[in-house]
Structures are given as C-alpha cells and as structure tokens.
Amino acid sequence: MTPTIKVVRGGWPSLAGGGVLAAIVVFLAAAPWFVFSPGDVTNLVTLFALIILGTTWNLMAGYGGLVSIGQQAFIGAGGYGVIKLADIAGLPIPVAVVAAGVVCAALALPTSFLLFRLVGGYFAIGTWVVAEVFKLVTQELPGFGGGSGLSLTAFQGVDRVTRIATVYYLALALAVLVVLATYVLMRSRIGLGLTAIRDDPTAAASLGVAVRRSRRIVYVAASGGAGLAGALIAVNGLRVSPDSMFSVQYTAFMIFIVVIGGLGTIEGPILGAVIFFALQQVLDSYGTWYLIALGAVAIAVVLLAPRGLWGLATRGRYEVFPVGHQVYPQGSPQEAQSVDFEVESRR
C-alpha cells in the first residue's frame, strides 16, 4: 500500500508565527507613545532600514543568485534623491522617500543591461565599479555639494517630535511593506521560478523558467529597496555625503545580516537585521574589534551553518512566511517513518 501523504503550506504554526510578528509590529507602532525616548526612536529607524536592506539583498542574492557588492550605488542615489525631491521639487517627505525608491529602480534597469554581461564574482565587482561611478559622478555634478554633501532642509520649521515621528512611522511602514511584498512575490509564479533558480539555475532554465528576466526583476526590485533604505537613512540623519552614503560598508552590513540570519529565506534577513542591530548597539564602542568579530562570525556561519541561524534553528521545517510546501506522511507509523522528506530541497 502506498502511504498517503499530506501536503501543507503554512498551516497553524505559520499563522501563529505571523501573529507574533504582527503583535511585534503593533507594539512597535504604539511604543513611541509610552516606551521609547526620541533617541531610541531614531535608532530604530536604522533597524527598519537594515531590515529593508537585508530583505532586498537576500531577494537578489539568496533567490536570484546575484551577489552584488555595489548596492550602495542605490543607497546613495536614494539618499541624494530624497533630498533633491524634497528640497528642490518640494514633495512631502513620505512621497519623496517612495519616489526616491522608484527613481533607484528606474536607474537599476539600464544598469542591469550592462552588469548582466558578467556572472558570479565578476558581476559582484562590476556592481562595485558602478557604485564608484555613481559616487564620483555625484561628487562632480553641480548642485550636489561635491565631497562634503548635502543637508536636508525640508524639515526646517517642523518641530522635532513631529519630524522624528514622521520618519519612524514611514520607516516602520516601509519595512513591513517590503517584507510583505517580498512574501507575495515569492508565492507568485515568479517566486516559484526564483526558488528554482536558487537551487539550480541551469535546471530551472531547462524547465522553462525565464532566468535572465526573473533576475532582472529582482535586481530592479532590490535596487528600489536599497533606494528606499538610503532615503530613510538620509531623512533620519538629515545629511548625506558621498563617502558615507556610497560606502562599501553597507554591503558588509547586508552580507552579514543575510548570511548570519539565513540566505534564501524571508525570515533570515529579519532575524539577521535584529541580531546585527542589537550587536551594533552593544558593541559599537569597540569599533574595529566589533567588525573583526562580525567578519569571523560570518565566515564561521558560511562554513559551519550555511543556512544561517534561522536555518539552524528551524532546519527548514518551519516558515513564518510559508513559501514552500511541507509534506507529511499519513497512515501507519511504520509508513510514516519511511516517508520523511521535503518537497522543496534546501541547500
């Protein structure tokens, strides 16, 4: 007798996990009223920006197989873009932030035609060169403040509490939206194709997945996400300079967040961003040693726990954002023991 199997996507454990996450979001939305100081609120914007950066970098590297070390091109473009859109075009800050993300996605499309001529590590370096070109051009363009950068003036005359609250809720909303949009994308037909690309690009192509087009979609989407994060960082810090906004340091952060949390999962980058943010708050005073430790941890995770901490904790069997299908055996216990596999193979 063939054992009956039950295929489950999500189910109540995922709903419970989603409920916990929703509760955390509600708490974060309410918290500025009674818990956090203005300083904490400003710090948390950084966390939300990191979640956006990690989620979108993972979308690109974890699912699309595109390791970019040049997303700072779009972080910088988003940062400069939001200041120009708010101060020169006079857009309200929330509109300007979203518009900056759209501009970055639009910039990423032509860039992709150039960079997609490279594969693997050479693609990585190509993205970095593009980021350097963005930085050098920004320095040379008239009206962009040269080497010293720009300040955001649109908030002048707005009182401090309103300013901080605006940026906080904007960042929280965008982080939630980016994660949910990634989830919806991954459950769509494109997402299924991306999951196949993650596991084996050649096999995916042979099954009719449009590998190049799917990759272009995630590259453009991830660059838009980096632009949003850059815009948030700029309106949170009120200043941009070429060396800080186009810093390759952001790439280091994104890689640490995604690799430590878990490459190729939606939950991993969120977990990674929270861990990274917490470590940063605690260990920032140690400066260089903190970065040395972070580098060592990242190497250890790559070699010893390639699925990251989320993968280590759940062994691929639990998802808050159910994308894959789980297969459970039904019938007699002997049969149940003999059928123990997952439909979706994970690295």
């Binding site: 050098l136 970065l291 790559v302």
Partner: protein
C-alpha cells in the same frame, strides 16, 4: 607632448596594476574563486615590509625575501582552511568568506597600525628618472613595469612547462579527472593560491614603495586589479597585463583632461569594455 607623456605615464602606472592583478587572475583562472581579500592582502604585505624596515632597518627591497614566503604561506593556509571547505557549498561561499576576510584584515591593520598613511622609503630611487626623448620616466615605475612583465612571463612558463603547472591546469580543466590521475586537488588549489598571494605580496611591497597607503587602501587596489583582469579577459595572464596597461593609460589620460576625472575615466573604460567586449580584450571565452 603632454598627451604622449600622459600615455607613457599611464603605461608605467599600468605596470603596477598588472602586477597587482596577476594573482587575482591566477586564482580565478584555476579555481573560479573571486578573492575579495586580494586588496587587503596587498596592503598587508606593504605594512609587513614597512614594519620590517622600521624594526630591523633592513633595506626596503630585501624585505620581499621575507614578505613573499610569509604571504604565500598565508595564502596556502587560507585556501586549505577556508576556501577549500567553502567551495563544497557552491560558488557563492568562497566569495562571502573572502569578503569576511577582507573586513577582518582591513580592521586588524587599522587596529595594529592606526588609520595613518604610511610609505616605505626607498631613498633616491623614488625621485630618480630616466630621460627619453625629452620625457622623464620615473625609474621606479619603470622597474615596476619590468617586474610585472617578468612575473607574468614567469607564471606563464611555470604553468606551461613544469610538472606542478601542468597538474594545476589539469585540475582547472577537470578536477575529477585530475584527481583520478593521482593529483591532490586540494593541495593543487592551495599551491595555486600560495603562488598567487606570493605575487600579491610582491605587488603590495612595490605599491608601498610608490605611494602612501592606509588600511582601507585595499578597496581601491581590489577595484583596479579587477578592472585590469576584466578588461584584459577572464583567466588570461597576458590579458591581465594588457588590461592593466589600458586601465593605467585611461586613468592618466583622464587626469590630463581634468585631475578629478582620472579614476572615473578608468571606470568608464571598464564599463565600455563590458558593453562592447564583455569577454575582455584577449579572451575567447564566453562569459554570460
């Protein structure tokens, strides 16, 4: 005359880039690993040489006798201990590991040597020049170019004519078949990395003698070296030499137009090569 001078200076600068890039080219050619720690290793070599000169007062050029073997050993250890295990997890892992190494290396250098700029003193040689038809060519830059060509010729001869070189190429073409022939793949990879990092050490010491360097200087080295490799053609050592020269000329000619455009002109030439000849100038390989 200014333009001829700019081109000639570019060729000399290109010698330095080619010297910096050939190790990267070799590692990629044999193992398909993109080593993001390349620039940091070059700068670390410069610091080691600087430290040796400071501590022992030995002549700057003599330091390569120590720096090259030390870095080659480091390269062997990195390959055996980190890159070989990472290769088992797919091609993404070595890239991430090397990025981790680059972050660790740059911050360790900053911790030990502070962020101040240093330079290895070579006395009169840094200002000596050779007169050529009314143009003055820096003697040290000329020496760097000669060393770069010598290293690339040496690597080519080594790869094509020695037993180990043949074994390396065999491993590159088909690791499994090479293993069946009794070649220890992991040892071959580690040897290739040791040789590559040895050339990086040499390049790093020369870099430290020609310019001011700081712990974060490795980023720039990495970008320029990669541009040289890609302009020239993936995995081709002669291509890397040509790529270095093209990049050097692009930068000096760009700087001749406006000093602020030097580095940018190099990047743009790189992007133009990507657009029209993505396989590089001297490579027949299909890239994407």
């Amino acid at each position: 005359m200014d333009w001829i001078n700019a081109v000639l200076q570019g060729v000399l600068l290109g010698g330095q880039y080619a010297l910096l890039a050939c190790g990267l080219s070799l590692i990629f050619g044999v193992m398909r690993i993109v080593n993001l720690a390349h620039g940091v290793l070059a700068v670390a070599s410069a610091y080691l040489a600087y430290w040796l000169v400071q501590q022992t007062g030995m002549p700057a050029f003599l330091t390569i006798v120590i720096v090259i073997p030390v870095l080659a050993a480091v390269g062997y250890a990195i390959q055996r201990g980190l890159f070989n295990p990472a290769l088992r997890h797919g091609e993404l892992s070595p890239l991430l590991v090397s990025f981790g190494l680059a972050v660790i290396g740059a911050n360790l250098l900053q911790e030990i040597f502070t962020a101040d700029s240093r330079k290895i003193s070579i006395g009169d040689l840094s200002t000596a020049s050779v007169e050529l038809g009314g143009l003055r060519l820096g003697a040290f830059s000329l020496l760097t170019l000669v060393v770069a060509v010598a290293v690339i010729v040496g690597l080519q001869l080594y790869l094509s004519h020695t037993r180990i070189g043949r074994a390396m190429r065999a491993t590159k073409d088909d690791p499994e078949a090479a293993t069946l022939m009794g070649i220890d793949e992991r040892h071959m990879y580690a040897l290739a990395t040791a040789i590559a990092i040895g050339t990086v050490a040499l390049a790093g010491v020369f870099l430290g003698m020609s310019t001011q360097f700081s712990p974060t200087y490795g980023d720039l080295v990495l970008i320029f070296a990669f541009e040289a490799v890609i302009i020239g053609g993936l995995g081709s050592l002669w291509g890397t030499l040509l790529g270095g020269l093209v990049l050097g000329v692009a930068q000096t000619v760009g700087a001749q137009i406006d000093p602020a455009y030097g580095v940018l002109a190099g990047h743009l030439v790189f992007l133009v090569v990507l657009l029209f000849r993505p396989q590089g100038l001297l490579s027949k390989a299909v890239v994407a």
